[in-house]
Structures are given as structure tokens and as C-alpha cells.
Symmetry: C2
Subunit: 526 residues, 2 copies
Amino acid sequence: MTESSPDVTRNGAHALIRTLVDAGVDTCFMNPGTSEMHFVAALDDVPEMHSVLALFEGVATGAADGYARIAERPAAVLLHLGPGLGNGLANLHNARRGQTPVVNIVGDHATYHAKYDAPLQSDIESIAKGVSGWIRSSTDAATVADDAADAVAASYGPPGQVATLVLPADVCWSESPGPVAPKPVPARARVDSSTIEAVAAVLRSGEPAALLLGGAAVREPGLVAGSRVAATSGAKFLSETFPSRLERGEGVPAIERLGYLAEFAQAQLGGLSHLVLVGATSPVSFFAYPDIASDLVPEGCTVHVLAAPGDDAVAALEDLAAALDAPADSAVLAGAFRPERPTGDLNAQTFAEAIGATLPEDVIVVDEGNTGGLFVAGFTGGAPRHDWLCLPGGAIGYGMPVATGAAIAAPGRKVLNLQADGSAMYTFQSLWTQVREDLDVITLILNNQSYAILNLELSRVGANPGPKALEMLDLTNPTIDFVALASGLGVDASRATTAEELTAQLESAFATRGPHLIEAILPPTL
Amino acid sequence: MTESSPDVTRNGAHALIRTLVDAGVDTCFMNPGTSEMHFVAALDDVPEMHSVLALFEGVATGAADGYARIAERPAAVLLHLGPGLGNGLANLHNARRGQTPVVNIVGDHATYHAKYDAPLQSDIESIAKGVSGWIRSSTDAATVADDAADAVAASYGPPGQVATLVLPADVCWSESPGPVAPKPVPARARVDSSTIEAVAAVLRSGEPAALLLGGAAVREPGLVAGSRVAATSGAKFLSETFPSRLERGEGVPAIERLGYLAEFAQAQLGGLSHLVLVGATSPVSFFAYPDIASDLVPEGCTVHVLAAPGDDAVAALEDLAAALDAPADSAVLAGAFRPERPTGDLNAQTFAEAIGATLPEDVIVVDEGNTGGLFVAGFTGGAPRHDWLCLPGGAIGYGMPVATGAAIAAPGRKVLNLQADGSAMYTFQSLWTQVREDLDVITLILNNQSYAILNLELSRVGANPGPKALEMLDLTNPTIDFVALASGLGVDASRATTAEELTAQLESAFATRGPHLIEAILPPTL
């Protein structure tokens, strides 16, 4: 039991929120509970903070990931105790793997209440540990603003990371001395000239080599410098499999993504003598399989690190291009190309053609299309320039939340979320927030009525499935009606069963402000 | 990389599943991924195992909770790596607090793959620790069957608990010597006679006393013995606030549940000199509030433990009744009572009356009605006998999954899920599994278009909310159409806007095999 709390403008919650805003964190995705009520009550006195309600915590954490990928600064998340953190954990895992800065605030019981082991008491730090590069429990309203400023700075890394601040209720409601100034954000480390020169020597050797770009290196400046290096040296130009944010399309240097399937990646890397990592980690198989190697680097290939994930990879590529005397105009830019408007049956190819034929400039594409979306990247490489957001962490259910957060970060841009049916059902509640915030998002459901990727994986792991096993991958009993689900959450929706219908519906959706959902009915297998 | 795996009937997954079935665990709720494909493939060769697919892990874990509450033996859960565990964590938290046995199997990468830190690599044990009374990582196909047998035995406690088995993919796919026999399940400890006599002496003193029953003590045998003790001694007869499974209705001894709000509970406990715990823990406030005590035991009241949660509380109550010479027929049984069929506007009272007027015998009621359902218990205490399942852990989103699992455990019984709108949206995917498994569940949505409980809590914590704060508790922008959502998942649904409509729709739903959903439109506040 504590004394009555002071006026809201003098409490810890107010100091915390004001400190966040002063440090540039002015968006908070939340699904609060009783222990967060003083935080919520303090929102009215900090008008700069945009508070966004989600119906489920996985939506809030994924939205923070999508927001920061586009805004290039963190959002805050407000979660309710250990169970709320659990609900948001999968998308925090994804943020961690994508090196996205997130200020993850987890409300807790009042400090003095913990010892009573009330029903919702849990060890929040043990749950948060695995996803958090930085973690702290606030203990006092006198220091919570300082904790918040530290959390914001820590979230930037480099590289970006989840900074988790555990926030007891009494720290929020007790009297605070007020906000504190932002803390300095450490810069990315400049790669030293001896490393540049060593890699330049490798590339000059003429032995088979590849650059493997990841993180911030796959934005346009890194791609231009990297492409100059590749064109001049003859090295292969590869990106990590699932970049957090890839710039691509007409006029941007094209880069070949490493395959998701180990066999494909091995083919791409086969015969190399040198692999140069630029903000990427050394390639490993996404999963383990009997008889397939986990380490994808071919035997006899030497791995060189030009830039570690926290280094300034773009500057390193520019320095490397200079060391190789790569001409300024030697980057190989993607030309304009659009497929014809497809006709006839809807399948993985005509689906991809419909997108390639209609994609306008400057769209943010959030790709959780999985198997059904396999051909989309190929048919959009020559479309007007756009951003392409992938799933670096592999925890499904990221697409709809990330699209939501990206749309909030870029109010003037259209977001296209390619969303596989099975994955959609993890965080479908996102649509409600898209309506509430009037977001310009097209959700394009790839409804193939199955966990098709698992059908593929089931055969790849060497299993020999019977009907009971196959039933666990099947989504036809019952079939999911995504148009009805969307309408239940207030989203205008349509269904496409032919290539012509999909093309027309996409054109219409691109021309109209969202949110909108299109359910594309695809065959159950590729 | 490992050698090719053996035929499925000789691998670790098969030995594990066969061992589970032999130990009485014949239902597995799952949402598997690539690392679990050998487990899935092995299902066909163990036909006794009922595998139930969920669209989201929180559905699977909550269903396992509901199943075990009714079946009185654990189900297994199969989750995919750390993120899948995170998605299922909230309902495992609830199972832990309700002392429900759950065999929680979390698939992991192959043992040798961990060191590569692949995208989905995470520290599963640190996430699982807080919810698990027992945890082990399997390391070898030679011993995985033994691990499984240990996990089943451990899940029984006593009291029941979550037993987490981390299951690497290569342990599943490698050659195993086969299943092992079940391990003995430890019995609940018998409370010694000196404890019985000490409590009897307290109750004989005539000083104001209360019994506080929890866990298995609130099933009929415990209630009968407890009611005899209370009637003979004059002690108050109380149960914990949110029992996991309470038997009640006509012919069952009625017991007064301790209030959720600290102020109510304090009023119930006020003036007591003795509080006797029978399978319950000492009462504490659910949340901390400024100026309200966390410990709800009044000053000057002595707490006595008749039976700790792992003890045989029912035998202890029977021994206590004998020590007090309580007559065998002295239990006070609830008489028959039904409210009139309500008419007019739908509100918290007419809503409760509609249920009280129509509830048939032997229904399993799963109560996540929150504020809108506040009066339902009062209007059903004299209805034909039924089970009442509550939320001991406080993590919302438990109702629909627990209803799903309860229906699988009791195919001949009707399940009525009282489901608040906000909480419904955490695990709404449950409806799909209800259709797939043809379950006899009525989901009754209490749609008051708000997080009404938080409106209540916001004022209780002493916060003074402005419009921005109130917006974070409001679910009207957009309103959720639960009938459309249900139809999207294949569930027959209807909407009730008057008391007459609700009564008629309930009668029809009770008379028809489910699943069915009724959306009751309630006013936004009590």
C-alpha cells in the first residue's frame, strides 16, 4: 500500500512519456491492462504522443517493428505484464532478428505487490531476456525518466535492438522530478582502412567471390556502392534471404536474394572461394534437415567480414568501391519491366503477374506471402521503385502488424501486404487498428487453404506422411472466408478467383485510399 | 548434418507419442512447424492419439487447459520453437495458476543446429521457465520416451502443473529403442490428524472463522464435506475468487466466491479471527492500487492451513467434518431456482436472467464474461447442476480455447462460453477448431463495445482520464461484428439485441448441437 498519488503531470508515467517524446519516440502501440492505467491516464497531458490501440499484443509489437523499419526511429510498445509480453513475444523475436529498434515497455505490478504472488505475477525478465538486447526494471519514479532515456538510446544499438523496460505500477503513479533530456545515440563504427584494403585485395585476386549484403546495406546507397564493387570486381552480388527493408525496382541496383531452401542457397554459393559479409551474418540453413548441411558456406570458401552488423556498412562499401577504383556510374540499375496483365486461372504465376502489372511507385510491400508468393519478387523487379519488407526472424504472423506500423510511419505511402492465409490468422486483429487509424493498407490474402510451406517441408525433412499428418497442414475444414472476417473488423473487402478479377481489384485498391482486403483464391499447391 | 532417419515407426517421435498414449495422454493440441514435421508424420502410426489443429498457439495451450480441467488428465500441446511458445504462453500461465496438468512439448532445432544461431533460434527454456513446474530438454532419441513418461508424471504434480519438454528435431527423427511404460503418479498427501485436530479446535472456539476452499476442494465431494463443517461450526463458507472448476447448481452445496475487487473481498473477510485455507492460497489483491492493501487478510485474523494445494483437501475436509461430529446430512444444498424469462432491454441483469431461465442440466460454463457477466453467477445458482470454469491466472483470452478443450474432453456435454468482447479478440481463432472438431459449444459474446473492466479499473487506481486515455479503452471505432467474424470461420451465428431475442436464441442453441455463436449487444457500461 502506498500513499495517494500526485497529480498526473507530476507522476512517473508523465515524466516517462514526456522523456520518450523528447527523445523522438512519439508513437506508442499498446494493449494495456490495470497495471498500465496511470500510463494511459498520462497520455492526455503529452499531446505529442500518438497512442495506437491494438486488440492483441502481437499486433502492437509487430506494428512497432514495421514502424521503425520505415521511420528509422523506434516506436514504443506498452504491454500488460508477463502474459501480455508473451502474446507479443513472436514479433519482438522478429524485431530482434531484423535489428529493428523497439522501446518495449512492460507494465508490472507495484514493486511492493510482487511478494504477494498475485495471479498475474510472473518473472517478466526471464521471458524478455531472449528478445532484448537491453533490459531494465524501473524501481523508482525518481529515476524512471532516466531509465526511459537510456532505453531509447539502447534501442538504437548499433545495430538496432529491442530495449525492454519493466515498469511497475507504483513507479508510474508516484511523484517524479520530471522528464530528462535525450541520451546520445552511439554512431555506427567506421570500418578501418586495413579491413577495406584486405577485402579489396581478395576481390582483386580474380578468384570466385561474392558480396553478401544485409541490414542497412540493402537500402539504395549501399546497393549503389555494392553494385559498383560487384561490377568492377566481377563478384556475385547477393543479399541475405529475408532483408528487413530492401529497396528495389526500376533505377535501383538489383540484388539476388539468397534462397530460403538450403539447396538453392548452396547452388548460389557453389564454387565460391571468397564470401564477403557486408552487414550480413554467415549463411546457415533456416532449419536443420537430415542429410543437409547447416552451414551453407561451401568447403574451401573463405568468409571475410567487411562490415559487422553494427558497423557502417554503407561507408565501408563506398570505401571499398573507391579502393577498387570502381567508376561512379558503374552500378547496374534495374531497367523498367512490367509483365502483361494476366488472364485466366489464378495461380502463383498469374498472381505475381497481376502485382507486377499494377504496382504503382513508392509502395511499401510487406511480404508474408510464403509459398504462394514465390514468384512475386521476380515479376516486380522492374516495377517502379518500392520498399520490400521481409521476415528476418521467421516467426509467422508478422505481415499484418508490420503493414500497420509501416503505414503509420509513412502516412503518404500505400502499403501492400502480401499475406499467406495460415500466417494471416495469427494476428488478423491488425485490421481493426488499420480501420481505427484510417491506414492506407491493402491486405492481399493468398488463400491456398493450407499450410503449404509445411507440405513442402514435410517432404524435405524425409517424413512420409499419412492422412492424419496431412490433415495437420490442411486449412479446408472449414475453409476460411477472409472477406467475412475483414467485414467483421470493418474492412472493405473483395474476393478474386481469376487473374482478371485480381488485376482489376488491385488497380482499384491502388487508386483508392485504404484499408482494403483482397482475398485471392489460389490452388492448394504450387 | 545427420544420417538419414529410420522408418517412422522406429524413430524418437514415434516412441514419444506411443509413450504418451500408454500413459493416458491421447489428445494433442498443436500448431506445428518445420521442426515438428517428424512428430506430425509419426501421428499416423499411433491411431489412439487424437491430434487437434489450432490456427494459433494460444488456442492450443488454452484448449489443453480446458481439456484437463474436465478430463482430469493432461493433454499434450505441440508448439513450434520459442515464438510458438511465446504465442501460447498466456494460457500456459493460466494453466499454471489453475494447477492444471499440461504436457507442453516445444519443438526445437536439431541439437547440432543450435550453434549456427539460425533465424528461429531462441532460448526456449528461459521463456518456459516461469510457467513450468517441470522442464527438460531432450537430447537423444534413445531417452526421449523416458523423458515423455517423466513429463506426464510430472504434470500431475501434485498439484497439477505445466511440464515442458523441449524436443529437438533430430531427437524426433533419429532411431529410438521404442516406447517406455508409464511412470507412477505421486498421490496427494494426506493431511495428518494433528493438523485436523488443530483446525477443529479453532472452529470449536466459536470465534469468527471462515473456510476458504480452492483447487479440487470446490468439486462436489469437497463442497459437501466443507458445507457440513461450515454448518456445524458456523464458519463462513468461501471459495477462491476464480476457481478452475466449481460444481454448482440445484442440489450442490452453494459457496460464496471471494470478490475480485479488493474492497468486496475485505468486506467478506472483515471481522474474522480465523481464516482456514483448504487447497487455496491466502487471499491477496488481484492488482495493487494506491491506498488499498495488497494482503486481504484483516488485521488480527490468523491464517490456518488445513490443506496446502498439493494435499488431499477433500479427505481433509471429511476428516475435519468427522472431528466436529458434523452430521452426514448437514450440508446446505442449493435449492431449485430460476428467474423469469426476461423481457425488454438487454443489460447485465436481463442478460443474466436469460441464462438463468434457460440453462439445461450438466452444461460446462466457461466464464470470461468479465464486467458484462457480473450477475450471471447470481441468477444461475439454482439452475440445474453444472460446472463453472473461471480464470485463475487472469491472462485474458482463455475462454474460447478452454471451451474448445472442455468440449473435446466431454463429447456428451454442452459447453456455454460466456465471452467478453475485448477478451474474445485474443484467441478468436478457436472457433475454427470448434467447427473442425464438430464441438458442441455455444459462444455467447457479451459485446459492450469496450474494455469495460479497464474503465472500472481506471477510476479505481485513482487516475483522472481525459479523452485520449478513454479512447484506449473503447472498442467502438470500428465496432466489431462478431456474427461476421464467426461466419468467416464457419460458425453459425446470430445476434440478440433484446432480452426476448437472447432468451429465444439461447433456447434454440441449447436444443441444437453446436458450434454456435450468439452476439449479445449490451450497453457500454454497467
